[in-house]
């Protein structure tokens, strides 16, 4: 069996950044394995601009952003395989992958899973009605348009105000389609503000808040949909349904981590994110298996994926190069009031006094919130933040000495009226 120090599964923005970072932190023997015929992951189909502003300080398209990282990878001569699917990983840190040259098993000192995310489909949100052709996730329609050069329809309705849906609203309009409207079940949009303005408002595409698609209609091909109003608990209000004629329904109703490989290996699952449970090294419950990017939790921007994965590459390098210090205390992290999830799930402290990073999302829109870390109801750290939204991930770091010798902390957000 071949030995490799670090195997990185997935060559999207997370895999690329973690590979580069692991290399720069001293691990030279790296293999990136990518299922598709090119590196870059989802970025390849995101031909709009807006990437890189935060990290690279310039505005790039998705492929340009990916290209930047692919170049960095190549400069370092990091090995990668394309058209190769990882079929299995296990707790002995063995990786089985297949491609047209055969099936191979390799043994690693560490594995980073950077598997990306799935889009939720109409079946996962239980939309009733017929099952005609004409209903797609926004990402799939994006791929057909940007990679293959085809529109899937001309009269389009969009469910969900996620960013991919908003971007597709603009993109399809520019391609001559009639985008009839966007329904959002919540009282607020889930997309970034700049996308609401630039993708909907600028094209006079209406956004209907507190509405949802209550029925899909069409025998073989989509003939239309019914939309209905919803109440404060997102339940459909009877007799508010109205028919909208359209040939395409795009769904932008959320992304969730793709994590079957990790589950199968026995890494404990995080039921709040659908990713794996991790510690502050981004290590799963199996030593040596790390996870990052949208395969861990869904990020708002690719820049943040890259940033996170730089850290993860470094953490994996520390394990491989035996640079880890002994753990002196270990604690669990719980999400409490107004926090829909928080990462990491456990924190392992050593005496090198490294800072601890937290990633979390607020459950609902809050104008002014106090973000608190508590131990036994005692605040050990807090700060005030304005305009909290579920669509914007909250990130912060604290000094590790605040946490020494604790067994448990709670993270909560207090709404300040």
């Amino acid at each position: 069996m071949e030995n490799v120090s670090l195997v990185i599964i997935g060559g999207g923005s997370a895999g690329l950044a973690s590979a580069i970072s692991a290399y720069d932190n001293g691990v030279k023997d790296i293999l990136v394995i990518e299922r598709s015929h090119e590196l870059g992951g989802i970025l390849n189909q995101c031909i709009h601009s807006g990437f890189g502003l935060s990290l690279l300080k310039e505005e790039l398209t998705g492929p340009e952003y990916a290209h930047h990282f692919i170049n960095e990878l190549k400069k370092r001569n990091i090995k990668y395989l394309l058209d190769s699917l990882v079929l299995e990983i296990n707790k002995n840190l063995e990786v089985v992958y297949s491609n047209s040259f055969g099936v191979n098993k390799i043994k690693a000192k560490a594995i980073i899973c950077a598997l990306g995310c799935n889009e939720r489909t109409f079946s996962q949100i239980f939309i009733p009605g017929d099952r005609p052709k004409g209903v797609y996730t926004a990402g799939l329609a994006q791929k057909y348009l940007n990679i293959d050069g085809y529109l899937v329809g001309k009269n389009v309705y969009i469910l969900g105000s996620g960013d991919i849906g908003l971007i597709m609203a603009r993109r399809m309009t520019l391609e001559g389609a009639n985008v009839i409207g966007v329904s959002e079940i919540m009282p607020y949009s889930n997309g970034l503000n700049r996308n609401i303005v630039q993708c909907l408002n600028d094209f006079n595409i209406p956004l209907y808040l507190k509405t949802t698609v209550s029925k899909i209609v069409g025998n073989k091909v989509l003939e239309g949909i019914e939309i209905s109003d919803v109440d404060d608990k997102q339940n459909i209000i009877l007799n508010t349904n109205r028919f909208i004629k359209c040939d395409t329904l795009l769904l932008s109703v959320g992304l969730y981590p793709f994590n079957t490989l990790l589950n199968k290996a026995g890494c404990k699952k995080n039921s709040l994110t659908n990713g794996a449970l991790i510690d502050n090294n981004f290590e799963t419950t199996i030593e040596g298996i790390f996870t990052t990017g949208n395969g861990l939790h869904v990020h708002d921007l690719v820049d943040f994926v890259s940033e996170e994965s730089f850290i993860v590459g470094k953490k994996a390098a520390e394990l491989i190069l035996n640079l880890r210090n002994d753990v002196i205390s270990e604690l669990n992290v719980n999400n409490k009031d107004n926090v829909s999830y928080v990462l990491p799930n456990t924190i392992k402290l050593t005496n090198n006094n490294e800072e601890v990073y937290f990633y979390l999302r607020v459950r609902k829109k809050i104008n002014k919130g106090k973000i608190k870390i508590l131990n036994n109801n005692k605040i050990i750290y807090s700060f005030i933040k304005m305009y909290l939204e579920p669509s914007e991930m909250i990130k912060f770091k604290i000094e590790s000495n605040l946490l020494i010798n604790l067994k448990e902390i709670d993270v909560e957000i207090e709404e300040i009226k």
């Binding site: 299922r35 058209d83 699917l85 079929l87 089985v96 297949s98 491609n99 047209s100 040259f101 055969g102 099936v103 098993k105 799935n118 889009e119 489909t121 079946s123 996962q124 239980f126 009733p128 009605g129 017929d130 099952r131 005609p132 052709k133 797609y136 996730t137 990402g139 799939l140 791929k143 057909y144 348009l145 990679i147 293959d148 050069g149 085809y150 529109l151 899937v152 329809g153 001309k154 391609e175 001559g176 209550s214 025998n219 073989k220 091909v221 459909i236 040939d247 793709f258 079957t260 589950n263 039921s271 659908n274």
Partner: protein
């Protein structure tokens, strides 16, 4: 214009038409199957519970009882010949109280009359078989001989084998008119086809009475009833191990919880009056299924739901299968309105009807008949996968990551007789697009492979029926 005369025309390529054709191919016969859809098995045979019932349940002395009991026993052999993923899981019918126990006992007796062995088991044994049952369950009727099957591969395998043995198939050929002319039948299809045949078999499922009415007044009336399902991903190999039915009560048969041959789980079906082709789902249906199924199991993996769908049962006013040669019109065989347990009975029906036809036409044995189809390129271990890759490197290039389907497997399937030409056809036979992402990752690649292998432009690749091409308009 002189038409060539067929010995047999079969209307409908569901499991019944497919099975008749396949068993008929044991003889030297000129036979054509006419199917209105763009693929085989698109109606009831593609949306059902996929259970090979053992046969204790149907009323004694009915056609259902007769063909179910014989048919169920034929699955071991067909599995060997056609690789239909048949698994003898057994089934459990669950009782919750003493009234149910009485019902279970009477079902057991009924089974004895039908010639099917079952046993009644108590709570301890139930939980040994199924640890995730609801804690309120008390009794179970265990039918060891029952099983589950892959209904898609059953239909496509029967069809492939029939075609390999010289039967013909025409898709997109909806029969719209039939004329009886002396001793043969003239069949007209919507696409302006005209065919002539000595024997005509109506295997049109829920359209059976309508098709019959082209020739004679039907003796039965179909009352379609819809069944909705919720399907879950394979999150755990042993959430449940076999189909679980509720003990029938005055209120009906309840719902069932089951697993598929690929370790997915489902709950369903509802039982509602519907129109013939109404395969829609409803919120009421979902709510009902979620509530009822929790009587059988202790939790529902709602987050793992990946698909909701419906099938339409071809129930009728006689409450039994229609399997007969018309006494008014010689050579017209009615094998329609085949409701549950039609799948379990399909092989027995196919064999029986093909023998009747052989008799009527005095057909000779087909000396070249081969009951096997080419083995599917499957792998259950990496050594096997390596062997496949040695044959064709594309077996190692995976297209569908949810269900692990490689390009080589897709190509192999496309080039079989009666093979898929649509995205849905690939999905049904190979599961690419059937998994958690529902094709958001692989559908595009599947379209490209279909286009290349069938030599048609990508914008002519259909999702299912004609006119359902996905890539519609070229971008600017």
């Amino acid at each position: 214009m002189k038409k060539e005369l067929y010995d047999v025309i079969i209307i409908g390529a569901g499991v019944i038409g497919a099975s008749i054709a396949r068993f008929l191919s044991r003889f030297n016969v000129k036979c054509l199957i006419l199917e209105k859809h763009n693929d085989v098995g698109e109606e009831a045979s593609g949306a059902n519970s996929a259970i090979v019932h053992s046969g204790y349940d149907p009323k004694p002395n009915t056609l259902k009882a007769k063909f179910n009991v014989i048919g169920a026993k034929m699955f071991d052999k067909i599995n060997d010949e056609l690789d239909v993923n048949y698994i003898k899981t057994g089934t459990l019918t669950i009782g919750f109280n003493n009234d149910d126990l009485i019902t279970l006992k009477s079902l057991k007796e009924r089974g004895e009359i039908n010639g099917v062995e079952t046993s009644i088991i108590g709570k301890d044994e139930l939980f040994k078989l199924e640890p995730n049952l609801n804690k309120n369950v008390l009794y179970g009727l265990y039918a060891k001989e029952a099983g589950i099957v892959n209904p898609f591969l059953l239909v496509s395998g029967l069809i492939e084998n029939a075609l390999e043995n010289n039967i013909d198939l025409k898709l997109n050929s909806e029969v719209i008119k039939i004329e009886k002319i002396m001793d043969f039948y003239r069949v007209f299809t919507k696409d302006k086809g005209i065919y002539e045949t000595k024997v005509l078999v109506n295997a049109s499922g829920r359209n059976g009475d309508y098709i019959t009415s082209f020739i004679e007044k039907p003796k039965f009336k179909i009352t379609p009833r819809k069944g909705q399902y919720i399907l879950f991903d394979h999150f755990d190999d042993h959430f449940i191990n076999r189909p679980l039915f509720m003990c029938p009560t005055k209120m009906g048969k309840g719902v069932l919880v089951s697993k598929t041959t690929s370790n997915n789980y489902y709950i369903g079906p509802t039982n509602e009056a519907s129109s013939l082709d109404d395969v829609s789902t409803t919120k009421e249906g979902f709510d009902y299924l979620k509530k009822e199924s929790l009587k059988l199991i202790n939790n529902l993996p709602i987050k793992d739901a990946i698909r909701e769908f419906s099938g339409v049962r071809a129930n009728n006013n006689i409450d039994d299968f229609i399997i007969e040669e018309s006494n008014l019109n010689e050579g017209f065989f009615n094998v329609s309105s085949i409701m549950s347990p039609g799948l379990a009975s399909s092989l027995a029906i196919g064999e029986y009807v093909s023998n009747l036809i052989q008799n009527r036409l005095n057909l000779k044995i087909n000396e070249n008949y081969n009951p096997y189809i080419r083995k599917y390129p499957k792998f259950n271990n990496y050594e096997k996968l390596k062997d496949l890759i040695n044959i064709n490197p594309l077996y190692g290039k995976f297209i569908c990551r949810c269900e692990k389907v490689s390009e080589g497997m897709i190509i192999d399937m496309i080039h079989r007789k009666g093979g898929p030409t649509t995205v849905k056809g690939i999905k049904k036979r190979l599961r690419a697009g059937f998994g958690r992402c529902q094709g958001t990752f692989c559908q595009e690649e599947v379209i490209k492979i279909l286009s290349r292998e069938l030599n048609i432009p990508i914008d002519e690749v259909n999702y299912s029926d004609l006119g359902t091409n996905i890539l519609k308009y070229r971008s600017k």
